[in-house]
Amino acid sequence: MANLHTNFAGIPSPNPFWLASAPPTDKAYNVNRAFEAGWGGVVWKTLGEAGPPVVNVNGPRYGALLTPDRRLLGFNNIELITDRDLELNLREITEVKRNWPDRAMVVSLMVPCEEASWKAILPRVADTGADGIELNFGCPHGMSERGMGAAVGQVPEYIEMVTAWCKQYSKLPVIVKLTPNITDVRLPARAAKKGGADAVSLINTLNSIMGVDPYTLTMSPATAGRGSHGGYCGPAVKPIALNMVAEIARDPLTAGLPISGIGGVGNWRDALDFIALGAGNVQVCTAAMVYGFKIVQEMSDGLSNYMDEMGFRSLDAIRGQALPSVTDWRYLNLNHVSKAVIDQDSCIQCGRCHIACEDTSHQAITASKDGKRHFEVKEDECVGCNLCVLVCPVPECISLRDLKPGEKDLRTNRVVSDQQVDWTTHPNNPLRIAQTL
């Protein structure tokens, strides 16, 4: 077994798989079961101030995007912060941490945006023996209407301010959880760092509505005939999260800031995506809610076998390794030429590639040859967009072939160059940089 141990923002954990702040981390019963199953750490479901807890609707609280065979692509929730008494939570956190000393225990917090509120709750959390706190600036519903959650997460100045309070009034590592319902996530990330954050975690959930019931013409999900937007998560959001993680990781102002990756992690491959793009660990929720806590064993095993196969002794060897490959569009090599190639031996002749290309792209795939059904790429039209590869139902039947320098591109009749040229120096670009000779 490879070494899966992590030390995230100063918090040791036997593996990079944490449970995110949500119903699975609501109380001792759940968290004990999670640790028994092998999770490296949890972020306890968000605590609010002392006083009467929030109340939520008694169903439904969730909706989902399901495939016809009921595979979950996306998940939507209107869960709120904890609806349990603060004192009960603090007692349980203390006890669980004491019973599981080697696992990471982080407590998520959301209290009003006032210094006194934060000053009051921080020592209570520190007394539990928890390893760190996560500031919930992301809840897109329920709390944002009260000036908390996303209402803070969308205002960089508030993020910096509250983070600074937490650093001032507590010695615990501070993880700032960011909302994706924002134009440029780098601004909140920079603000968190300026406030002294030890790490950021992202993404929280995305504003969403799942659909409409065709017979009642009400939105779904709905409570007594009406519904609210919810927070979207699960496999569908992973690409959004990956982009935001990469943006923060490669922004010079936040590079090096530890990142906890959240959003659709369901297996070791997903975790690898996040880690390679700069995350120090991952947090999981939806997959645990679909499969149960045991799923962490498959994640750990898969990641460990991958690391053994690749010769990676620890996650340090993987973290951020894909970042150098992330750049801005304007720096991509315009001299690179790919063409699609269809393997006639594995082609099942469905014709999807043809119609996708013919209707919506470059009309670069035949439908027939010598009067017979036949699907072949016409290199003089193909721009290598990859659409056919993606719509083909047979894995590896269609692939993109990279043309070598010296080969002729039949579409432009130009020979492929080995020189890298991008938009910044392209003659068609009115804002091009003059090339030095």
Partner: protein
């Protein structure tokens, strides 16, 4: 005017009934391997059930949802580990286990849509991928304990016991009567279930853990031998299987052309060029279990013109599963029920050779199998007997081992009434006579032996 075609000389038992190329085709893998794409699609059908019924139904309690999820995750090595951790002979079991009666029978997809997840095929996909990988060895041996265990019988029970013990650090000597290890895996299971010499490849993988020595050509012939083993080793595991077959007990049983199905299959398994193996033109197989089916199907695949599988009770009473019966029928074997053999008739010209089997029709009268008075005669050039096996080695009882229903009596972990002696597999009482169960017996006994040897 054409002259009548003279009947072929009978009794007609000869090799080479088929064109040369047909043998490879007929005896090719009965269950073609899944492609990687097919495996992932099939794996995605698994729901990762809580307290999965399939894992409970598996006699070795393989963590089925875990291994299937790992296949879906692209973690084939991890999938193989999950399988082999619970069942070190997961490769052979994937090929021969009657999954339609075990895990796949209780798969919730079966309940939901009538088609279970193809658990057996997925298991094979994962184990085969491991064996073909650059690093097929998964397990490391614990520090040697200095204890030595003797295992009699290198079939699935003995192999599983030996591997489990060796992993725990004990030294094992594995004794077997045959020239090769593997037991029924090598000598008994149908050829089309175990192509490409898989039984031996699996044995090599099992031995690779280290600490296991195999001594072939060794038979248990005296109580003194057994005593010497009990003296010379720290524990003893008996996994010899069943040595003798039940006889029909009818006149004509000694005629040429009449043989045990087990012997027929064993010869077939060890025959490199199947075109040289004689088979009757008309073959009658007597029995109703998997051995009967395997013998019947393989006789047909060798080119027998007609193969009758005859059982004395009805289809529901046959121990061969419905899937096995259908397998036989789609391979051209005709199954007859409610016929019990009365005698085997000798050939009129070659009186030392069988020519037909006479059966008495049976029915149930007040729950008892009773002859109706009707007689049926089936011509036969070859008669294969597959009506069950028995322990067959008198040394066992002579040594003081207690029996139960003709097999060795043991507790749940396989401990016999003799101290330091455990037993598992077909030779042990109360089992299902399945390869997978033999593996579980071997494993459980190994753990019990380990506990006793280490004082745990």
């Amino acid at each position: 005017m054409s002259s009548p075609v003279s009947p072929p000389p009978s009794p007609d038992v000869r090799p080479g009934r088929l064109p040369a190329l047909a043998y490879a085709q007929h005896f090719a893998d009965a269950s073609p391997r899944l492609t990687p794409a097919q495996a992932v699609l099939e794996a995605e059908r698994c729901l990762y059930c809580f307290d999965a019924p399939c894992a409970t139904a598996c006699p070795t309690h393989i963590e089925v949802p875990s291994f299937i999820k790992r296949i879906a995750d692209g973690n084939l090595r991890g999938a193989a580990r999950a399988i082999l951790e619970a069942n070190p002979l997961g490769g052979m079991c994937a090929r021969v286990c009657p999954t339609e009666n075990l895990c796949e029978a209780v798969c919730v997809r079966h309940t939901q849509e009538g088609t279970p997840v193809a658990i057996g095929r997925l298991q094979r996909h994962a184990v085969d991928a491991l064996l073909e990988s650059a690093r097929p060895q998964l397990f490391t041996r614990a520090t040697t304990t200095g204890k030595k265990v003797a295992v009699l019988g290198a079939g699935p029970a003995g192999l599983a016991c030996a591997h489990t013990l060796a992993r725990l650090g004990h030294d094992v000597v594995l004794f077997d009567a045959h020239a090769k290890a593997g037991g029924l895996n090598e000598y008994g299971l149908a050829s089309y279930k175990t192509p490409d010499n898989f039984a031996q490849r699996e044995v090599l993988w099992l031995l690779d853990i280290g600490g296991i020595e195999i001594r072939t050509g060794w038979t248990l012939e005296s109580v003194a031998q057994l005593d010497a083993l009990r003296q010379g080793y720290d524990a003893l595991f008996l996994g010899m299987g069943l040595r003798s077959t039940h006889q029909l007990g009818v006149p004509g049983e000694q005629l040429d052309g009449v043989m045990d199905a087990i012997a027929f299959i064993a010869t077939l398994r060890q025959t490199k060029d199947l075109a040289t193996l004689p088979v009757g033109r008309r073959v009658v197989v007597i029995g109703g279990g998997m051995t009967a089916v395997d013998a019947a199907v393989q006789a047909k695949l060798l080119g027998a013109e007609s193969v009758q599988l005859v059982y004395r009770r009805g289809p529901a009473a046959m121990s061969a599963s419905v899937a096995e019966q259908e397998w036989a029928q789609t391979h051209g074997v005709t199954i007859h029920h409610w016929l019990a053999p009365v005698d085997i008739l000798a050939h009129q010209d070659r009186s030392g050779h069988a020519s037909a089997v006479r059966f008495a029709r049976q029915s149930l009268v007040a729950g008892k199998l009773t002859a109706t008075g009707e007689i049926e005669v089936m011509p036969a050039d070859m008669v294969l007997k597959a009506i069950g096996q028995q322990l067959g080695n008198p040394v066992l009882v002579q040594a003081g081992l207690a029996l139960d229903g003709g097999r060795l009596a043991t507790d749940a972990a396989g401990a016999t009434n003799l101290s330091g002696v455990w037993a598992g597999g077909d030779c042990r009482a109360g089992g299902l006579d399945l390869t997978v169960e033999a593996v579980e017996h071997g494993k459980q006994s190994a753990l019990a032996i380990h506990a006793q040897l280490t004082g745990a």
